[in-house]
């Protein structure tokens, strides 16, 4: 039964895996960005808002210019600009990071800035002029199993793998990466050794926001591909849980993103195949969010965070010892 009429590539498991990669990719970008910010000690709960602004601006750019590359750049800049607001509030003004992040998501999210931009720029209901699509040779894409799962994917997927490798090497093998980890673990020690704590926090929060913007653009430029209000539907929140789930390690983010991606893809696949048709589809659709809540609850105690390896200064502004 599992191997249906279209050969192995039509088997449920293969279809679910393929959709895990598709839906996991925006999560992966957003989680990598969140990971960079959190490694600097900045908790950014504005990811969802940054993804939506990235999605709408990226879509606008591709409709205006027809260039996908430029669209990704615009999405990154838009997400980064939002993150700059967060950085200014929490690093310079030392505002509460949770409040600032939530405020940004409310401000920019569904029914907020991203909706306004979508309406104002008349983006709704337009078909995309260009979208990211699989580009590898046809014979590769139809190969058994690896074809649909790994090779029948867009450039955004392959670029995300490169990003994972770059972030992993950056964190573990380079001097700025070492400094970044020191800033997140012990800003006082970093400061005493002449590392500019404020600069490191700004840069990584903003770059993190840019990643979130690209993650949002994955929806409007590849998955959907069009602009629909609130089209990320909570992916930003899943990405935040994912960072914890991955113990703040980029390679585990890759695994976790596809895990959560699978949960996002399962409802569509099951519905299309009529599998477990007695179960209301809403139950499947709620799975990734239930997983998110469970992960966040499990790790919300301070003790658990420390054991999991959360950056020790996460969530706390750095103030030089003053009197």
């Amino acid at each position: 039964m599992l191997v249906a009429a279209g050969g192995i590539n039509n088997a449920v498991l293969v279809v679910v895996l393929a959709s895990a990669v598709v839906y996991g990719t925006p999560l992966l970008y957003a989680a990598l960005g969140e990971l960079l910010a959190e490694r600097a000690g900045v908790l950014n709960l504005g990811v969802e808002g940054m993804m939506l602004v990235g999605a709408v601006m990226g879509f606008w750019a591709v409709q205006r210019t027809g260039s996908l590359l430029l669209a990704i750049g615009v999405a990154a800049v838009a997400g980064g600009a939002m993150a700059l607001i967060h950085a200014f509030l929490v690093v310079t003004l030392r505002a509460n990071q949770i409040v600032s992040g939530l405020a940004l998501t409310i401000f920019a999210g569904a029914a907020g800035l991203s909706s306004y931009l979508g309406n104002d720029l008349n983006l709704a209901d337009q078909p995309a002029k260009h979208a990211f699509s699989p580009f590898l040779p046809r014979s590769w894409r139809t190969a058994d199993v690896v074809g649909p799962v790994l090779l029948n994917q867009s450039a955004l997927v392959y670029a995300s793998w490169v990003c994972v490798a770059l972030v992993a090497v950056y964190l573990s093998r380079t001097r700025p990466g070492l400094n970044l980890r020191a800033v997140g673990e012990s800003p006082a020690a970093a400061d005493a050794m002449g590392i500019n704590v404020v600069a490191y926090r700004y840069v990584h929060t903003v770059v993190g926001g840019a990643f979130a913007g690209v993650g949002g653009a994955c929806f409007s430029l590849a998955i959907t591909p069009q602009w629909v209000d609130g089209l990320t539907s909570g992916a930003g929140w899943i990405a935040i849980a994912l960072v914890i789930f991955a113990f703040w390690r980029p390679t585990l983010c890759l695994v976790g993103a596809y895990f959560f991606g699978a949960f996002s893809g399962i409802p569509f696949t099951f519905q299309a195949r009529g599998i477990l048709s007695g179960v209301p589809p809403e139950l499947f659709q709620s799975l990734p969010y239930v997983m998110t809540v469970v992960v966040l609850v499990l790790v919300s105690s301070a003790g658990a965070r420390r054991r999991l390896g959360a950056p020790a200064s996460l969530g706390t502004p750095y103030v030089r010892e003053e009197r």
Partner: protein
């Protein structure tokens, strides 16, 4: 010898305080120069200025004859100034080697990629040369405080510091470890480096420094050769009058039956693991028993477990023959255990509440304090006013928020509250840390009086002079267990020091 560092008329003001008021300071190449002063004399501010954390409002920093100005700690590091802070600036999950190269941006540090092997080799060599070897691959959280201090010194040496400032470096060391630190400092000075040694311990200053500069109230009082100074003359310079150094005083009163017994006490630490591992201890009425040990060997957990702030994992706390259930501060208070905690500002009082509210914090259920559900405010105020008079609390009346008191006066408020409940047992942790000499004398007198009146006193302190001046018996704690007990009248600093390092064996 040419002078390596010179501070000319440094002034630094903070809102409401002049921390440094025209300070002059000069240290030569190849010398160990002590900076001596009481808490609040301006030593820390001065070192923060020298390391680029603060900018002076007035005055000039001159290094090897060149005036310099530091915009950030990085500038000071680049100019060859290294600092070992009292609270270490280390990244706990990092390895020793990673901590050492942190922030380095010269030589090897210019490279974008990190090469752990080469760095580990360099760090190991450096450690060998200065006899402060530490495993470069160990992670900081695995190291003892003494080893962590070595890492801090290695950091400075790796960055080629020619001037090294150490802020109260012996606070976390056993006397023997302190000796070996002094040897390292001498080696560094003999190479032509300048060591600035900040302390308020007179015998250390005598032991290690060539010259001493004394600060008081933010001003430079004098610079003297250590050879011609005595502890007594230095103390007089530091305090501004003749003082009696802490000395043993015989007390009245008899030592009676055991009032506090601790039997096989185990407790978990904040980070998991066992902080206490089977502590046995006895305090009799009228007796002062001291717990000596290097910081972080379970002292805080012991005080918290006895006073009910922390639940015991195993074992018993017995007061007057009656075992406590444990983990319940109110039960401990009822049993007659009074507690003067280590962190007097945050655990000892509620800092934003008034003195009056703070002195009744433990007795608010009593008739003198409440009538039905309401507080008797006038009675509370009168009670506070009488305690303020009796304990000579200076700085304000009953309505003053506790946090506005100086350390010494704050401690008097805590002592007043704890003594007032007629305790059977008094658990005091580092009661004089950070206090000036006059306040130390007062606190010591109160503790002696408490013992004379029949209270059993458990004194937890890292200050051996204090312990030897006050205690009848000294129990030494190491890694959560009592490793030895000595008679305070017949022991020596060396004997206790050996026990503090984990026992004579």
């Amino acid at each position: 010898m040419p002078s390596a560092v010179e501070l000319r008329d440094i002034t630094k003001r903070f809102p409401g305080v002049v921390a440094n008021d025209g300070v002059r300071f000069e240290a030569a190449e190849g010398e160990v120069h002590a900076l001596l002063g009481e808490n609040g004399a301006g030593k820390s501010t001065l070192s923060n200025i020298l390391t680029g954390l603060y900018r002076p409002d007035e005055g000039e920093i001159v290094l090897w004859g060149e005036p310099v100005s530091f915009a950030s700690p990085r500038d000071a590091l680049d100019a060859g100034i290294g600092m070992v802070h009292q609270h270490f600036r280390l990244v706990p999950p990092f390895t020793v080697a990673e901590n050492v190269i942190l922030g380095d941006h010269r030589g090897e540090g210019k490279k974008f990629m990190v090469h752990p092997r080469r760095i580990e080799r360099n760090v190991a060599e450096l450690g060998k040369r200065y006899r402060i070897a530490v495993d470069p691959r160990a992670r900081i959280w695995q190291l003892s405080l003494g080893e962590q201090q070595r890492v801090e010194i290695l950091k400075a040496l790796y960055r080629q510091a020619r001037i090294l400032i150490l802020d109260e470096p012996t606070a976390v060391l056993t006397p023997q470890e302190a000796e070996s630190l002094f040897e390292t400092l001498r080696v560094m000075a003999d190479e032509g480096r300048t060591v600035i040694f900040i302390s308020h311990k007179l015998h250390e200053v005598k032991a290690v420094a060539d010259r001493v500069t004394v600060l008081r109230d933010g001003r430079t009082i004098d610079t003297v050769d250590t050879g011609s100074a005595t502890p007594r003359s230095l103390a007089a310079l530091m305090v501004g009058r003749e003082v009696s150094l802490a000395e043993r005083v015989e007390r009245d009163g008899e030592i009676g039956a055991p009032v506090l017994e601790v039997r096989g006490l185990w407790a978990h630490g904040d980070r998991g693991g066992d902080a206490l591992r089977g502590v046995d201890l006895q305090v009799r009425t009228g007796e002062i028993v001291a717990i000596a040990g290097v910081a972080g060997n379970g002292q805080r957990e012991l005080a918290e477990t006895i006073t009910g702030m922390r639940a015991a994992a195993d074992g018993q706390v017995v007061v007057d023959g009656r075992p406590l259930r444990g983990g319940d501060a109110r039960e401990a208070i009822r049993a007659g255990i009074a507690h003067v905690p280590e962190d007097r500002l945050h655990t000892g009082v509620a800092p934003s509440l008034s003195i009056a509210s703070n002195v009744v914090l433990k007795s608010y259920r009593g008739k003198q304090v409440t009538r039905g559900p309401l507080l008797r405010l006038r009675a509370i105020r009168d009670h506070a006013a009488s305690l303020i008079r009796r304990y000579d609390v200076r700085g304000g009346g009953p309505e003053l928020p506790a946090r506005q008191l100086s350390g010494g006066n704050l401690q008097k408020v805590v002592l007043a509250r704890e003594f007032h409940g007629d305790p059977r047992v008094l658990v005091v942790a580092s009661p004089t840390r950070g206090l000036d000499v006059a306040a130390i004398e007062t606190v010591h007198r109160y503790l002696r009086d408490a013992a004379s009146s029949g209270v059993g006193v458990l004194l937890i302190s890292e200050d051996l002079d204090e312990i030897l001046a006050l205690a009848d018996r000294v129990a030494v704690i190491y890694e959560g267990a009592i490793v030895g007990e000595v008679d305070a009248g017949a022991t020596t600093v060396e004997e206790i020091g050996l026990l503090m390092a984990g026992g004579a064996g």
